[in-house]
Amino acid sequence: MATDPGADLPRRGFHEDFAAILIGVALVTLALAIGWSTRPTEDAGSRKAFPKGWPNRLSATIDKPQTWSDAPQQALVVVDKKDKTKVKPVSIPILLGMTWVVGILAAGTLLRGRSLAAVLPGACFLALLGGLAYLMAAQKVINYYNLEYPLWALLVGLVIGNTIGVPKWLEAALQGEFLIKTGLVVFGAEVLFSRLLELGLPGLLTSWVVTPIVLVVTYLFGVHWLKIPSKSLCMVIAADMSVCGVSAAIATGAACKAKKEELSLAIGLSLLFTVAMMVVMPPFIQWAGIDPIVGGAWLGGTIDATGAVVAAGEMLGKNLDDKRPAEVAATVKMIQNSMIGIIAFAVAVYWAGWVDRDAAGPKTSLVAEAWRRFPKFILGFIGTSIVCSWLFTMSPELALLVDGAIQGFTSRLRGWLFCVGFICMGLQTNFRELAPTLASGRPLILYCLGQALNLVLSLAMASLTFGWLFRQGVTP
């Protein structure tokens, strides 16, 4: 992604990537340590007793606005699903969530040797805007049709950036790239390779065979046939369409140093197609008479966003009162989720070694050149993923520790960091740079053709695995 303002100022501190790694790893370690220090004394290894992992005390320090339908103040309370008279206020955890963002921006500023005083006012303002974007995303129609918070964070930033511009006092706090990198290091804890071992061969085949093929073919198609000038735009579109939407776009966009405008465009395309596919695919599957299990696997392999996959799976099974289509869809998608780390790493290596390589530059070895250009924060992302995956496989107790830390803290924190990161991106986005590419319609063509290939290959593989090879395994 493009450089933040002030990145060229003289610094005495750490490089942005190392600051992101240090802070991200410290936060994941903190969540695991707090979870371990308050581990349950009874049934500590029971998934039935702790379906979302061990409770983590840090969960009280962070939350986001809840869904609301008519009045935004409904977002500040959690209503008990069984007893609607029971409400729990969440305004304090929401404010504390904003405080985490300000604290992380402050820590990053200090680690990078910059002036804290110049950053703090802007950081507080950005955290408030993050709350506003979350509030917009929590409106029920928006939420239940999968228009995720990055879109609204970008919109909030774009509105301010394109009306009054960026005030001077805000410029030093616009560290979107740093926030997204830190968020990705924290996100690594959620990308558990070990989950792949649990989820069975059919899902693995459906997502791991088709996804890399679609990713590579779409990228090559965009670069060589459509001749889109920006390779990073082709890669981000290919990744968000073939892997798992916004999260994959963020990770690969950071790995191939895509411009803010390119990432914004890819996310916008992905979310619009996700809504359409979530609504259209379940009735189409029923109309075409496709087996619901095969249909579930098809949904999981093709719809970009995880939540939309489950929603579509539920819609597919609603007439049958059958949970299996949603379970199959979620399983296939979860395996794709677990691929983000490997794909981001592979993209970073490919970019550093081949795409960004300067042919006219000094002759150095491929490895040395690749290392120099490699986005180092990816190592933090992969590192937290490997450590948490390893812990997850060690014992049922440690698996519950990891799940509790993720559910209670790191996934919420990652959401806030991405949200505020996208506000910064919106504030700095200039769509005029993309105007020639947009006017040509080529990104849209690339997305449509890539998704068409994805639909065909995923249906073929889902029919092969869930419809034939492993049919007995999914029949009660």
């Binding site: 509105v159 950036g161 489950v310 949603a326 979620a330 009660p476």
Partner: protein, 84 residues
């Protein structure tokens, strides 16, 4: 102050922001709630709520229920049994 990236010279910046904010407020406070009352949309929202689905989940960790080892997949388990 860095200038806005889209130049609309006839309208003062503050007014442009006020207009954009008012438009967004109208969409979120009036239009979306009324769309939410449309029978088809309300039915979709009710179905999702009744099944505890969070369609806005970006990754599986944001789902209301982690899709952990559906019963039908038990026979493919590689790691420890789920029922402990």
């Amino acid at each position: 102050m860095t200038g806005p990236s889209v130049i609309l010279p006839r309208i003062p910046p503050g007014l442009r922001l006020a207009f954009a904010t008012a438009t967004l407020a109208a969409v979120w406070l009036v239009v979306l709630p009324s769309i939410g009352r449309h029978p088809a949309v309300a039915r979709h929202v009710r179905l999702m709520e009744s099944r505890d689905v969070n369609p806005a989940a970006m990754v599986y960790t944001e789902l209301e229920h982690l899709p952990l080892r559906p019963a039908w997949i038990e026979r493919y388990l590689v790691l420890w049994p789920a029922g402990n």
